[in-house]
Structures are given as structure tokens and as C-alpha cells.
């Protein structure tokens, strides 16, 4: 290397390296931590828990007011018991909480009828919480087995003295007018014979509800019914049904003074025992069955409860002690009436049915207060005090009507049946109605009332026809009424007749009687028809009739068919006709027979004698051509047998009879009017019945019949010669000979004849 390496530049040394500052800083940091560890580090506390359930080392926190202030660090078993000793490290800042009087407990999820608590522990696991006490510093505690119910909430704290705790538990609700206003905080045995002392907490905002005169009673279980607040009782006190509850009211004579903290009250075992009502005695008639706990209702409002039942001293019934709502006090007078209300099955009142017999009361003010009453076995038939229009109906029997049965006007309920009573003399029943005041003006002097109870259902092939006013009237009967034309209003107490049915009430149509030989499957309700339209119906069947023989049908012609009630009107029973030739009235097989009428003229008449058979078909009578055939024998010809021309049916046999000398048979034919011109003087008639069987060597066999009907029922054919020989048209009544079979040439005739038409 030509050149020696350069010389480094010299700078003076600067002593101890600056980097030694770093250990100093590190020392400071570590020292600070060590200092914290000793002065501000965790405080170890030992808490004894009755069970280690749910406690996890290093996990289970201690929360105070929602904030984690400590963690379980170790759990040691305590020999000889199930309890465990948990070592808990608390934050230094929680030191002031770790004093005498502080209580710990484990928060577990709790879902009960009284509420949901600690639900967060389902997710986060159990934790320990505490309530701070105040006292000297302490490092060892014994935890509570469950959360204390008392809180530091402001409120009224009362003591109740009870004989037994019943089903009350911590947290049981305290009700005032069925509203929860507090809870049972704690209970303990009182010293001596004092029973149990229950500590009750009333929320601050309800503090004023507790008067010095308040009566507390145990509303646990079903006895809670005892509150006089109405019908939904059981449902919204389900919680108290399960966990018990306490109720209180203001007491019989409310005082103005309010209760203070620590006041002692008596906890009565039941509402009745609380004596919070007016006690009355009601003597019941024999054979009524009222149970303890039965309600006393005033127009549907529960105003009392039967608290005890005992036989009356004379053993002719029983007497019950009833606790009445204090509100009724002023109306328990000599005018007040009680009666036993047997439950009736009624829509919307099933509850009544479930409750069994109840007492009902009509509260009335009066001159003197009474505490002893006698109940009637049945409700009073007539109570003029109810508002509305009061009417009296007379009927032979009340039918299916019950008390409270509805009264309808145009299917709208406007009132109800109050009750019944036998009319003086026992000849009829009086039914008391009351119409609601706003409907009172609907009743007039000529209104008609009828019974609508039950269902009238007529099922037929036409469908099912239900006639009923409402389901309610189906169950308890009902009354309907209609207005007459007269507009005079009715007064209270007006009397009317109760008709069994609307038809009778309104007297619609014309009642008639029809004498028949036999009822022959005619039933009540069978229709009377004219041209297929129902114009009336049979309303009754009576044996006998006028001649003492046969049957008399009572029937009613509808109003619009009243003009059929005339002397010459014909009635007959329509029966099914089933034959090969024709099938008629098949519907009657299923629907039953009915009556038909053929209107006639003449004067007004309501009694008729039915024809034994339908009248001959009258379409042909007068119209069409009537001929008489003379035949040696009838053969298979019957009435209705067809008459053919060129195998076209142009008429039919209407009847037959032996000739005057019995040497021949007269067969009556009717040819339809339009075909009348086909029959001429020289026409030939022959038997078309049966089978004609021609056998010819050249042509083979020929089977010939007019029609299947003719084959079986017989028939008649005719032919008319060609125009030059046919002769004139004939008149009705003309006689022809009936040949047994046609001449071959007859079949070849083909005259040209103009058919008669309506236009001509």
C-alpha cells in the first residue's frame, strides 16, 4: 500500500456513558410498582360461603353497585362442613366497604312469579355482591345464604303479627286494591305466643295508603278471592296465588292518621277474618246449596262473600254469614232482598256456572238498617225498580224461557225476561219483561209477542233452514215482538198474550183444513204448492176430521196465496210415481209428500176435501183432439201409453173403459193440439205394442217395435191415407176401430198435412 491509512480524528472522552440513565428509569418504574404492591395492592379478605357452588377461582368477581371490586383468588374447604372459605382480593379502593356489618351473598339467576332477578348471571356466571355495613375494619366475613330482600330503598316498614306465616315468603306482594304496593321483606318467629312477625315494606310512593285503621289480611292462595274488587281477581293475583300475598284496606272506619315506620298491625288469616266488611246473616230456604266463599252479587257486581254456613236453628234451611262490602252498608235495609241464584248456562256467563250457586241481592235504601235477611229460593219475578218499560205477557207455559232470556225487536235485543209467576188461579203463566229505557217506545198497544226459543231447523234437500234468533235465545229461550199498525204507545204493566210462534202471533195467511183419507207421509210443515211454488204449509194433523174417518190436516195458506181459499180449489197429495213409463215426483221420496192445489173459483172457503188422486192432466182437457178407439181387448194399453204417428209421439192414452155393452173396450186418446190435423176420417189405428217380427226369405228377419216404452207399456200408432182419400178433419169424440196390426200399405201412406200451429 503506497499510502498509509489516514489517522482518525481525535475527540476528548466524555465520561460515564449517558445510557446509564436507563437503569435509573427502570429502577424508578420497578420501585413504583413495588411500592404500589405494598401500599395500594389488593386487600385479601376471607369470606365464608355456605356452599362453593358457582364460585370459580380467579374468575368470580365481587361487584358492588355494578362495579368489579374484587376477585375470588382461592377457595378452601372448611373441614367438617359444606361451607367454603373464599379468599377474595379486593381493590384497595374498596377498603372502606370491608367493615363490620358488610354482608356478602352470591347472586344467582332467579326467575319466579314475583320477578326476574340476576338474569345477567346466566351469561356472565354467578358473582358475589355485597351490602356495605358500617363499623370497624374487618377482614373475615360470613356470607348470607341468599340475597337479603330488604334494601335501603326509602319506604314504609311495618310489622305485622300473624298466627302463622301461611304461604308467605320473602318477596310476597302486598296489595292495596289489588295493586302491588309493597312486599314482604322478612319474617321471623316472634317471642312467646305471638306467632310470626312479618316485616313488610311499602314503597315510598304508596306510603300514604296505609292508615292507622288499615286492616291487613293474608290473601295467600285462593282466599285472595276475598277482596271485593270484582271478577278478574284470580287472574291478576296469580302471583299471590302461588307465593302468597298480603292485602290491606282502609278498615271499616278509615282514620285520617297515617301509619309510621315500625308500626305493628295484626295480619288476619283471611279477608273475612279481617272483618273488613259488614257482616250480615242471611237465612236461606231449604234445598239451596251455598258454599263458603260463594259470592253475593248485586246486578252482576260482587258485593260480598259468604264466610260461613250453618244450619238454621230450626233446621228448616240454613243461614249463612255474609261479609258485605262496606260500600253496601247504607243499602242493607228492610227493602233489601236476597235470593239464591242458580247458575244457568248462558253465553258469556260461564263463570257463573263454574262458581256454583251464588247469592244475589237487590240493594235498596230504606228506613231502617238491617243485618238479618231471608233469602228467597228464586229470584223475584218482578222488580219494578229496574229502569225501563215493564210489560206482562200471558202464556200457557213459559216454554224454554228462562230468567234473563232476551227480548228481541227486529232481532236486536231490547230487553229481557225478568221472571215468571203463575197467574192468579193458575190458568196461565205471567212473564215479566223489562225493556231497556231507550227501547221503551218500541212497544205499542197492538204489539204482538211470540216465543222464539229454541231452534227450528228444517233440513231438506233444499238445504238446512235454521230459524233462530240468536245463540243466546237458543239456550235460554227468547221473546220477540212486532209492532202493529196502531201507533199508541204502551204503558208500564201493559198485558199481552205470548204466542207460541211468529206465524200465530202475526196471524199471517189463511188457516184452512183439508180432509184426507190418510195422512200418507204428510208431515207438519209439509208445503202446499202451486206450480212448484210453496204457497202454504201444513200446520197440524188430526185424526178424525168431520166424518170421524180419515185425517184432517190443518194448514195455512200464505198471505199472498189467500185467494186460493175458494170453493172450487182442488187439493191432492203428491206422491212419488215410479213406473217404467214415467217417474214423477221423485223428490217426494226424500222430502216427503206434499200437497198441491189447483185453484178454482167460487166463494171463500176454508174447509176442503182432498182428491184421492191427482186430477187428470188438464193440459189436454179442452185443448187437443179427444178420440175414442174401440178395441176388442185392452192389450197392454194403459193410461199414459203413447200414441205415435210415423213413430213420433203425438198424443197419449188418457184412459179406458169397457163399452156400454161390455162387448168392447173404449180407449180414450188425446192427440196434442198441434197434431190434431193428422187425424182424418179415414185414419187407421193399430196396436203398436210389443214386437213385430217379420220373417221373409228374401229380406230376412225384421224386428220392429215402436219404442221401448211402447214395447213394455203398449202404445197405439195411426196412419192417415194420402191426401185424396184422407177425408175431413175430425172432431173430438170421434170413434175409430183399433186394429191389432197395421196393413202393410198403411205404412206406405204419406199424406201431406199442414200441422196446426199457434200462429194460425
Amino acid at each position: 500500500m503506497a499510502e498509509s491509512p489516514p489517522v482518525a480524528l481525535v475527540k476528548p472522552n466524555r465520561g460515564l456513558p449517558l445510557v446509564w440513565v436507563m437503569p435509573l428509569i427502570a429502577i424508578c418504574v420497578a420501585a413504583w410498582l413495588v411500592y404500589q404492591e405494598f401500599t395500594r395492592g389488593d386487600i385479601r379478605v376471607a369470606v365464608q360461603f355456605p356452599s362453593g357452588e358457582g364460585l370459580v377461582v380467579g374468575k368470580t368477581p365481587v361487584k358492588y353497585s355494578g362495579v368489579d371490586i374484587g376477585v375470588v383468588q382461592a377457595i378452601d374447604l372448611i373441614p367438617g362442613s359444606e361451607a367454603v372459605m373464599a379468599k377474595i382480593d379486593f381493590l384497595r379502593s374498596a377498603e372502606h366497604l370491608l367493615v363490620d356489618g358488610t354482608s356478602f351473598w352470591v347472586v344467582k339467576p332467579e326467575i319466579s312469579v314475583t320477578g326476574v332477578r340476576g338474569l345477567e348471571t346466566l351469561v356472565s356466571g354467578k358473582y358475589i355482591t355485597m351490602e356495605a355495613g358500617s363499623g370497624p375494619r374487618k377482614r373475615t366475613f360470613v356470607a348470607l345464604s341468599e340475597a337479603p330482600l330488604h334494601t335501603d330503598e326509602p319506604g314504609l316498614r311495618l310489622r305485622l303479627q300473624a298466627q302463622s306465616i301461611g304461604s308467605l315468603t320473602r318477596g310476597s306482594p302486598v296489595h292495596y286494591r289489588r295493586m302491588v304496593v309493597g312486599k314482604v321483606e322478612d319474617y321471623k318467629l316472634a317471642g312467646g305466643d305471638l306467632g310470626v312477625e312479618v316485616h313488610v315494606f311499602i314503597e315510598e310512593k304508596y306510603r300514604h295508603l296505609v292508615r292507622r285503621s288499615a286492616r291487613f289480611w293474608n290473601s295467600s292462595g285462593v282466599d285472595f278471592e276475598g277482596s271485593l274488587q270484582g271478577v278478574k281477581l284470580r287472574m291478576d293475583s296469580l302471583a299471590s296465588l302461588l307465593v302468597g300475598g298480603i292485602s290491606f284496606n282502609d278498615g271499616p272506619e278509615p282514620s285520617e292518621e297515617r301509619a309510621g315506620d315500625g308500626d305493628l298491625f295484626i295480619l288476619h288469616p283471611s279477608f273475612a277474618a279481617a272483618d273488613a266488611g259488614v257482616e250480615i246473616t242471611v237465612k236461606l230456604p231449604p234445598r239451596t246449596k251455598i258454599d263458603r266463599g260463594a259470592g253475593v252479587h248485586f246486578r252482576g257486581i260482587r258485593v260480598g262473600e259468604v264466610v260461613s254456613v250453618q244450619a238454621s236453628p230450626s233446621l228448616d234451611g240454613m243461614s249463612v254469614t255474609v261479609m258485605m262490602d262496606p260500600a253496601t252498608k247504607s243499602r242493607l235495609t228492610e227493602n233489601t232482598r236476597f235470593w239464591a241464584a242458580t247458575p244457568t248456562f248462558a253465553l258469556g256467563r260461564v263463570r257463573e256456572l263454574l262458581n256454583g250457586e251464588q247469592l244475589e241481592v237487590e240493594l235498596q235504601t230504606g228506613n231502617e238498617a238491617r243485618r238479618e235477611f231471608e233469602a228467597a229460593a228464586t229470584p223475584p219475578a218482578y222488580d219494578p225498580s229496574l229502569p225501563g218499560r215493564h210489560l206482562v205477557l200471558t202464556a200457557a207455559d213459559p216454554g224454554s224461557l228462562t230468567r234473563d232470556a232476551p227480548v228481541y225487536y227486529r232481532r236486536l235485543q231490547v230487553g229481557k225476561v225478568q221472571g215468571f209467576a203463575l197467574a192468579p188461579g193458575g190458568q196461565s203463566v205471567e212473564i215479566y219483561l223489562v225493556l231497556e229505557p231507550r227501547y221503551a217506545s218500541l212497544v205499542h198497544a197492538d204489539s204482538v209477542f211470540w216465543h222464539t226459543g229454541g231452534v227450528r231447523a228444517s233440513a231438506s234437500l233444499d238445504g238446512i233452514d235454521f230459524e233462530m234468533d240468536s245463540l243466546a235465545s237458543l239456550l235460554r229461550g227468547g221473546i220477540a215482538f212486532a209492532d202493529g199498525p196502531d201507533g199508541v204507545g204502551a204503558a208500564d204493566g201493559s198485558r199481552y198474550v205470548l204466542y207460541p210462534s211468529r206465524a200465530e202471533a202475526l196471524r199471517e195467511g189463511v188457516p184452512i183444513t183439508i180432509a184426507v183419507a190418510s195422512a200418507d207421509n204428510i208431515r207438519v210443515g209439509a208445503p202446499i204448492r202451486y206450480r212448484g211454488v210453496s204457497v202454504g204449509e201444513v200446520t197440524g194433523l188430526h185424526l178424525g176430521g168431520k166424518g170421524g174417518d180419515g185425517v184432517e190436516l190443518s194448514a195455512r195458506l200464505n198471505e199472498n196465496a189467500a185467494h186460493f181459499a175458494r170453493t172450487d180449489t182442488l187439493f191432492w197429495i203428491v206422491r212419488p210415481v215410479i213406473s217404467l213409463r214415467k217417474t214423477e215426483n221423485l223428490d217426494t221420496v226424500i222430502r216427503g209428500h206434499y200437497l198441491r192445489l189447483e185453484p178454482g173459483g167460487g166463494g171463500y172457503r176454508t174447509h176442503f176435501v182432498a182428491l184421492p188422486e191427482p186430477p187428470p192432466e188438464d193440459e189436454g182437457l179442452g185443448a187437443g183432439l179427444h178420440l175414442v178407439l174401440d178395441a176388442a181387448r185392452l192389450g197392454s194399453i194403459k193410461a199414459g201409453a203413447p200414441v205415435y204417428y210415423r213413430e213420433v209421439k203425438v198424443g197419449e192414452v188418457t184412459g179406458h173403459e169397457l163399452g156400454e155393452l161390455a162387448d168392447r173396450v173404449y180407449i180414450y186418446l188425446t192427440i196434442a193440439p198441434q197434431y190434431a190435423t193428422l187425424v182424418r176420417e179415414n185414419s187407421r189405428f193399430w196396436h203398436a205394442s210389443g214386437v213385430r217380427f217379420d220373417f221373409n226369405l228374401r229380406q230376412g228377419a225384421q224386428v220392429h217395435t215402436e219404442s221401448l216404452e211402447a214395447l213394455v207399456a203398449g202404445g197405439i200408432s195411426f196412419a192417415t191415407p194420402d191426401n185424396s182419400e184422407m177425408g175431413r178433419e175430425v172432431l173430438s169424440g170421434s170413434h175409430y176401430a183399433l186394429y191389432p196390426k197395421p196393413e202393410p200399405e198403411w205404412l206406405l201412406w204419406s199424406p201431406k198435412i199442414t200441422l196446426w200451429t199457434n200462429e194460425k
Binding site: 491509512p5 436507563m22 427502570a26 418504574v29 356472565s124
Partner: protein
């Protein structure tokens, strides 16, 4: 090359030369100064190397206490917060059956810093007071210490990734705590320590011991 040949040979100090450790310029004379070529500070031996190394080693050792005492991260699940220190975390991982990760974390955050600090202490003591030592082995130890230093940061990467990933509001959240800072400081400090050590001192000591007989 034999063992002897490696141990023998010219030494810069004896030749009256030093090297710039940045641009490796050979410089005549042993006076500390600045590299005439690149301007870096030069010295025949890094000045105060042992003293500086000791300072960093002591700093790192002291900081091990807060790094292990303070929680490194907190896991909040459904409002429940759990904090873990390093060893606590390793233990939790081991208990939850994740042995591999537990070992990894343990090695990265406990073994590695431990080896580094112990190794550097040993190196410093050797250079200052060592008498019977194999300079080759000691040099290998130095290389090892130098090499593994960065792996301790694995733990911190894990924490920073978790903090970024698990941030679901109140459902789950992971946050780094002060222990992580302390631990990071330990890692950095040990890296400084290994950097400030001058491995040439090992051979100086070796020669001195041999010269002393």
C-alpha cells in the same frame, strides 16, 4: 484452517490500526475519532462497550418485573373483563389445551429475554473477569444472543394483531395493557444491550489471559 490458526493472526491494535465499523475503512493509529471517509465515529474498541452493555442489561432486568407483573392484555367478553399477565396468559393457554401456542408464547416472552439477559451478563463477566474460557464458544453465544433478540417481539405482534382483530364492541374486545409496553421495552433494551457489546473484547481478554500465562 486449524484451531490454532484461527486464534492466531494479526490484531489491529498490535498493528496500530483500527477499522471504521460502518464503511470498514482501515485507519492508521488507535486514537478514537471520526472516519475520514464516511465520518462515522471510530475507535479501536467500541468505547465504554462493557459499561453500556451493563447499563442496558440492568435496565432490561429491572423492567422484567413490571413486564411480568402488569397485565399485558385484557379480554372483554360480554361485559366480563379478564386481564392476563404474560405467565397468566401462558397458563391460560396451557389450560385451554393449546399447548403449542403456550410453548411458543412462553419461549418468545420468557425464555428468549431470559437467555439474552443471562447471556449478556455472562459475556460481560467473561470479558471483564474471565480466565478459563473458550473464546470461540463465547463468540457463538454472542451470535446466538444477537440472533434471537428479535423473536421476542412475536408476543407483541400477537397482541397487536389480536387488538386489531377482536374489536366487536361490547361483545368481545381485546386491549393491550401497560404490561405490554413494559415487555416491549424489555425486548428493545435487550437488543440495545446486545448491540452495544463489542465481541472483539472477548478475543482481547483471551489474549490477555494467555499473555498473563
Amino acid at each position: 484452517m486449524t484451531e490454532t490458526s484461527r486464534l492466531e493472526g494479526a490484531v489491529g491494535i498490535e498493528l496500530g490500526r483500527q477499522t471504521c465499523l460502518t464503511c470498514f475503512q482501515l485507519i492508521d493509529g488507535l486514537e478514537p475519532g471520526y472516519c475520514p471517509r464516511c465520518g462515522e465515529r471510530v475507535a479501536a474498541r467500541i468505547p465504554e462497550a462493557i459499561s453500556r452493555t451493563w447499563a442496558w442489561v440492568i435496565t432490561g432486568t429491572l423492567l422484567l418485573y413490571p413486564a411480568n407483573k402488569l397485565p399485558v392484555m385484557s379480554v372483554t367478553r360480554l361485559g366480563q373483563t379478564e386481564t392476563d399477565s404474560i405467565m397468566g396468559g401462558v397458563f391460560t393457554l396451557y389450560q385451554s389445551g393449546q399447548l403449542a401456542i403456550a410453548i411458543l408464547v412462553f419461549v418468545a416472552s420468557v425464555v428468549v429475554p431470559g437467555i439474552k439477559l443471562l447471556g449478556l451478563t455472562y459475556l460481560c463477566l467473561t470479558v471483564q473477569y474471565g480466565r478459563n474460557f473458550n473464546p470461540l464458544r463465547v463468540t457463538r453465544l454472542y451470535r446466538l444472543v444477537h440472533l434471537i433478540g428479535r423473536w421476542s417481539l412475536l408476543d407483541l405482534f400477537l397482541i397487536s394483531i389480536l387488538v386489531a382483530l377482536v374489536n366487536l364492541g361490547s361483545i368481545a374486545r381485546i386491549e393491550a395493557q401497560s404490561g405490554a409496553t413494559a415487555f416491549a421495552t424489555v425486548v428493545i433494551v435487550t437488543m440495545f444491550a446486545s448491540h452495544s457489546f463489542d465481541p472483539r473484547l472477548i478475543w482481547d481478554r483471551h489474549r490477555k489471559v494467555q499473555a498473563d500465562g
